[in-house]
Amino acid sequence: MTGVAGAVIDLAAVAVLVVGIAGLWRRDLRALVGLLRIQGVALALVAAATAATQHDVGLGVTAVLVVAVKAGVVPTLLGRVARSDPGARESAPLINVPSSLVLAAALVGLAVIVGAPLHALEPGRAAALAPLGLATVLAGYLLLVTRRRALSQVVGLLVIDNGVALMTFLLTAGVPLIVELGGSLDVLLVVVVLRALLGTMRSRLGNVALDELRELHD
């Protein structure tokens, strides 16, 4: 592993996690979508740097794919939803921002402790970073659980997906291209469906805060 590529992997992997945690901090929905875009770029950097060190063409293609889907199409689609309701904010999350950040710190700690054995799977510098992916998954999950806005929850879901992707890149130097392709298409499909759903919900119910939908149960 060359020094530059190694440093890029280190930085980009940390960036994925930091951006994921920043998602807990920002309340502006458009800013959230922007964060998602940055996370996609960071993830693609990890993939590209890994591809460069291992001379893996498939992984390089995957990196391009990640940029296209996770930093391109998906944030653009979500951005349109966010723009249609300018000034929309996550006004009252279930857990307030400072507490969320403290919880996120605890989750990162847990991920590091729990993820330590992952290093044993594949000794190497990249695998040692794998707990970052786990931490990103947990941060995304926290976003999913504590936010009321439907859009923030979609972002949470995507952060989880990015965390899983980060782990696969770091641990196995990427899954086969076809699997990654399938995964990306899945995410894209989910986003398209959710976007359509959000549009319909807004046109029928106005403001979309999931807690107000409780009467639909049973």
């Binding site: 847990l110 054995p117 659980v145 409780r214």
Partner: protein, 662 residues
């Protein structure tokens, strides 16, 4: 092997025919092809039995990881003959019988798929293929119950059946997985050679016996059976009763006698107690039931209970050092299953014809059908004879062998074992007696005497292929009853498939069969010759001795005219039995007295109503269902409709898993 594969191919084509053919020819295509598949598969099974070969095939495709594997050894082949007979008869019957909802595209295709599943189960050579075939059989039969889903009783029967069959399949899967894990192979042959022992064997034994026994309708896992059989269409209930329940016992023979050989004998004694209870329970309910199909359903529980007594006693005897008696029992059970498949199919199909032409299944409203439907009545008489165990019919051979095996098991110096065997023998005797009551009621009340309703009076003999479908099992019943020797000789080889020693001492020939050194023998041909000879002699004597012939109504106590109300009804015929066993049956009897207006002393109408509900269902399952329901209601507090709460559950579960697996 070619015939077998061709048979399965044709059965698949039958499913496709049912799904794709146009409405008019759908029933014909699907059922004709199913019947052909039955003939092909049955032909392969008979060939394998006669030549002593074991056709087998394996493909890496079709099923993941282990692939699909077919193997038709003597045990599987003997069952396969029974299944093929039942499937062929039911399919031929459907051609002339299907109407209304059962001619719909899904119904016809599902019936063909059910037949395919039934044919596949005995031919499966490894656990994975077996489970796949089993599930195909269970799932299609469940869907077939819902063909007439606009009836509430059909829906309720499907819920019961669905719950029981899925729980049973889960138990079987668990048991087989344990065995596969312990034996490191999925093939039945390899699993049998692995000799699994210890706690794994016990858990696998209990799980598979429970799962298979629920399919065979063993008490208290039988509750689905009396609901499902009357609700399914006639050919389907014939297949369910004649073939599917028999496959439950096949599973016990294959897995628990054949693979879990190291199990302690007292486990088998436990199974024996359950078997005795279900034989008696089924026979009692059959004796008191008035609905024709319900009677037949309970009689299935009874017959399967008798079979299970045989298998359980065989397991106990083998573990207790009496392998010969055990082998005799296994052969007896195999013959009993064949006989049951034949006569029960015939009876169910005949019940469908009776219901079609009279519009009722209630025995209290039938009667006199022997006059209007003579062909059907004579075939039913033969089936009833087989069910009761009259010599020259197939059922007798099976029961005789089973009794021989049990009696041989008494000759041991082991009080516990002897007591267990004795229990089986006593249950067998009592259940046989009660079966006789039920079957005599079916024949006597339903077909003899005078019609009790307009519907019964207007009954018509059906024509065409349905009669052929009824004649097929009748022929098999007679053939097996008169010439049991060859069948015995081939069924005997099945014992060695179960890891038992050869029977040696059980001899079958054209002339008859013989058991043991005591040379206890059954010679149906000689009996037949004797009966025919005696009949001829009597006839000759009657011609010589009697000058004038006067025809009169028999059993009329001297009266010329008898009305329908003077005869026994099904309810009154069973009343003594119901009274004696009231503690077990808990009948709900209702007597209403209406008086004349002028005087309270003159009774006008005395109405007697009695209904027997299933005591196990009301006593065991109702509280169970209520408890589960209450638990479910309380659990609703966990799910209050908040998305965030559900997501939080997910996160907490993930964290818990992470911490635990660290």
């Amino acid at each position: 092997m070619a015939l077998l594969l061709a048979g399965f191919g044709v059965a698949l084509a039958a499913v496709a025919g049912g799904a794709l053919a146009p409405r008019r020819s759908r029933v014909l295509w699907a059922n004709a092809l199913t019947a052909l598949a039955g003939v092909l598969v049955g032909g392969e099974a008979i060939t394998a039995l006669v030549t002593g070969t074991t056709p087998h095939a394996h493909t890496g495709a079709l099923l993941p990881l282990s692939g699909a594997s077919l193997r038709l050894d003597a045990l599987g082949a003997s069952l396969e003959v029974t299944v093929a007979l039942v499937v062929t008869s039911a399919a031929l019957f459907s051609i002339g019988y299907a109407h209304g909802a059962s001619t719909s595209r899904p119904a016809v295709a599902l019936q063909a798929a059910f037949a395919l599943g039934l044919l596949l189960v005995p031919a499966a050579g490894d656990a994975v293929t077996f489970l796949a075939a089993w599930e195909a059989m269970a799932a299609t039969s469940l869907a077939l119950l819902l063909v007439e889903h606009d009836r509430a009783s059909a829906r309720s029967a499907a819920v019961w059946y669905g719950a029981m069959t899925q729980a049973g399949a889960a138990a079987i899967t668990l048991g087989l997985l344990i065995l596969v894990a312990a034996a490191h192979t999925t093939s039945f042959v390899g699993m049998a050679a692995a000799d699994v022992r210890g706690p794994a064997a016990v858990v696998a034994f209990v799980a598979t016996v429970a799962g298979f026994a629920s399919k065979a309708g063993a008490v208290p896992l039988h509750v689905w059976l009396p609901r499902a059989h009357p609700e399914a269409s006639t050919p389907v209930s014939a297949m369910m009763s004649g073939a599917m329940t028999a496959l439950g016992l096949y599973g016990i023979a294959r897995v628990d006698l054949g693979i879990v050989t190291a199990i302690g004998r007292w486990w088998w004694v436990g199974v024996l107690v359950v078997a005795a209870a279900s034989a008696l329970y089924g026979a009692l309910h059959a004796a008191t039931a008035t609905d024709l199909k319900r009677l037949l359903a309970y009689s299935t529980i009874d017959a399967m209970g008798l079979g299970l007594i045989g298998l359980a006693a065989a397991g106990e005897l083998r573990a207790g050092g009496a392998p010969r008696a055990a082998a005799t029992l296994v052969v007896g059970v195999l013959i009993l299953l064949g006989a049951h498949g034949a006569y029960k199919t015939l009876l169910f199909l005949a019940a469908g014809l009776v219901e079609r032409t009279t519009g009722t299944r209630n025995l209290d409203l039938l009667g006199g059908l022997a006059g209007t439907m003579p062909r059907t009545a004579s075939l039913v008489t033969l089936a009833v004879a087989s069910a009761v165990g009259v010599p020259l019919a197939a059922g007798f051979v099976g029961e005789w062998l089973e009794i021989e095996g049990l009696v041989a098991g008494l000759a041991r110096r082991d009080p516990g074992g002897v007591a267990a065997t004795l229990l089986g023998l006593v249950a067998l005797a009592l259940a046989s007696g009660l079966t006789a009551v039920a079957m005599v009621k079916l024949l006597g009340i339903g077909f003899l005497g005078r019609p009790r309703s307009e519907g019964a009076r207007g009954a018509r003999e059906p024509r065409g292929i349905v009669t052929v479908a009824l004649a097929l099992p009748a022929l098999a019943t007679l053939a097996l009853g008169i010439l049991p020797g060859p069948a015995l000789a081939v069924a005997e080889r099945a014992v060695s498939d179960l890891g038992g020693t050869g029977v040696r001492g059980l001899r079958g020939s054209i002339g008859g069969i013989a058991v043991g050194a005591s040379a206890s023998a059954l010679r149906p041909l000689a009996l037949l010759a004797g009966v025919v000879g005696a009949g001829l002699v009597l006839r000759a004597v009657a011609r010589v001795g009697v000058r004038s012939v006067r025809r009169t109504v028999a059993w009329a106590c001297g009266r010329r005219e008898l009305s329908a109300r003077m005869q026994y009804t099904a309810t009154s015929f069973a009343e003594p039995v119901q009274r004696v066993f009231a503690d077990v049956l808990r009948p709900d009897v209702d007597v209403t007295l209406t008086h004349e207006d002028e005087s309270r002393d003159i009774e006008r109408v005395l109405a007697y109503q009695s209904s027997v509900a299933d005591a196990v269902e009301s006593g065991l399952y109702r509280p169970l269902v209520r408890g589960a329901d209450a638990l479910g209601r309380r659990a609703r507090a966990l799910a209050n409709g908040s998305v965030h709460r559900y997501l939080a559950y997910g996160l907490l579960a993930l964290l818990a898993v992470l911490v635990v697996l660290r």
